[in-house]
Symmetry: C2
């Protein structure tokens, strides 16, 4: 929720971006999942930074190891969406003044665990004292310019797919905030989805390497927001005819009078990739990535996301996931 008189995150970004002199012939505009610079021979250096501030980004109950691991996973997810293997990672840490050695060990261990999960290494960093635990992660990789998967290249007629079902993290966040009657098994699964997210790096790399994607974005601000960003960048629209919701979450939602559309589209903390591709490439893609779910197709209706559900049409409004505090 927005507080009165408070600048929104979007407004802040607009002000800052507008004040920057832009690099000429930048291979990728501001606002894609990553930044990129040409380094010769058709290659790009691809970079991404993402700051996690525990106060606003971390739900109750996550330990420091999970927190620092997740900070790294978030950044790797952005490179995954572009089909780029991270070659190295830098970490800037701000930590409160009074912390134990065990706390520092957890932070350091979580960072390394995430790096190793995705076959990369921490190569440098910086530490500071700050009021909030703050973990800024920068990831670096290189790729051929013509193989970088962009946000602005979705084509009318493409099918839209996601790399897996949504909704578990949304349910997990609900459970963390409010006690619910729920089976132990589903509760654990949902909370694990929040505390131990996975970046879809191998999926992104496989699809990119085999030239199976037209455009892609990650879904950390929620599926609705990702579709909206993708549509804006590519000047297209989407018709969605399947709600890619995790089976158990859908069942739980129906039993408990929760809205499955809300859980699937506006959940946030999701790390699936949202991808568009030529329909003819679907069978080949599905053979390589078993978890792919086709959810609709690209339309000419620029900026418009329509859900066709039980033969009714409904607009999916471009609402982003809201963080744990009131900051956005």
């Amino acid at each position: 929720m927005l507080k009165k008189n408070k600048l929104t995150e979007r407004k802040i970004i607009d002000i800052i971006v507008n004040l920057q002199d832009k690099m000429k012939n930048n291979p990728l505009p501001f606002g894609d999942d990553v930044a990129a610079i040409r380094i010769g021979r058709g290659q790009l250096a691809v970079m991404k930074c993402d700051m996690l501030v525990a106060k606003t980004d971390i739900p109750k109950g996550m330990n420091p190891w999970q927190t620092s691991r997740k900070a790294v996973v978030s950044v790797i997810s952005d490179l995954a969406a572009k089909g780029v293997q991270p070659m190295g990672i830098l970490i800037s840490l701000g930590m409160p003044g009074k912390i134990s050695e065990n706390y520092v060990r957890q932070i350091g261990g979580g960072i390394n665990a995430a790096a190793r999960e995705y076959a990369t290494h921490v190569i440098g960093g910086d530490t500071n004292e700050s009021t909030d635990l703050t973990i800024d992660v920068s990831a670096f990789g290189i790729c051929k310019e013509r193989e970088l998967i962009r946000r602005d290249t979705a084509k009318v007629g493409d099918i839209v797919m996601v790399t897996g079902a949504f909704g578990l993290p949304a349910l997990g966040l609900k459970i963390i905030k409010k006690n619910m009657e729920i089976s132990k098994k589903l509760k654990e699964k949902a909370i694990k989805a929040v505390f131990m997210p996975k970046a879809r790096l191998s999926e992104g790399l496989t699809l990119a390497k085999n030239h199976l994607i037209n455009s892609s974005i990650d879904s950390s601000d929620g599926l609705a927001w990702s579709l909206y960003e993708l549509s804006k960048s590519s000047n297209v629209g989407f018709q969605i005819n399947k709600i890619p919701i995790h089976r158990e979450v859908r069942e739980f939602a129906m039993e408990n009078n929760l809205d499955p559309i809300e859980l699937a589209f506006y959940g946030g903390e999701e790390y699936e990739l949202v991808i568009t591709q030529k329909p003819a490439l679907y069978e080949k893609s599905k053979k390589k990535i078993r978890t792919l779910i086709p959810i609709g197709h690209v339309t000419e209706n620029s900026g418009k996301i329509i859900l066709k559900f039980k033969n009714k049409y409904r607009d999916i409004e471009p609402r982003g996931y809201e963080h744990h505090s009131n900051n956005i």
Copy 2:
């Protein structure tokens, strides 16, 4: 000053670095001014991140424009010490919840001003809400591996030089903390040295391009600490026979019973480069960089920094500059 029971920054870094699996054949060890990765054809991607937390890093009276500009200058200084032109910069911002549009404009403007001063561009970033103003800057450049200036390559017999006189920022910080009787002109000059630092990028690039340096480090933690880090990395020592102190600061120190050694060696917030080179290259270097000051030579005495001053020898102890709070 260290608080009781508080982990030092050094201890925190050791714990975290020791927990990281190290990249094999890393071209540059952890702890040099920058991190580097081989990207083929004898080239390195060079990266550096540095987090500024206003609460601890920014003295009283600096405005948001100066603060964000300085955050960028600090990182460029590290690339300058390695002889690497920054190609692009990423910015992660943490800002308090209640800020004005003017504040955001100042932050954005200061970032762009610094980038343009050093012929680079901001190419991406991230914004967040945090208690402290937090600016994490990541800079990226490429260079030939054999042309990267390292910390671990000072040679016994090299002369030691700095790119300019020290002490103005140290005096500036004293003035900011405590009212002093001082001429208006010197006061302004000293405070400007703190609020508007300059990275020695053109100096670093010129010396590196002409193969005039054996080793180099920047001096943001103070001259004594830089000499100590350089000596440790290169397994050498230094004999210093000249205190590179700004003339007016020396005069002010003498009149006011301040220790010029303290001001020159332990000041911090300095952005001169500390360089070693073959003595035979000095004349050529001095012609290119008029501000160079030779201050001594490299000895075999590993880790030992000796100042010969008025025919007396005195150890320069490896004491780092202490930030504005008690955090280190």
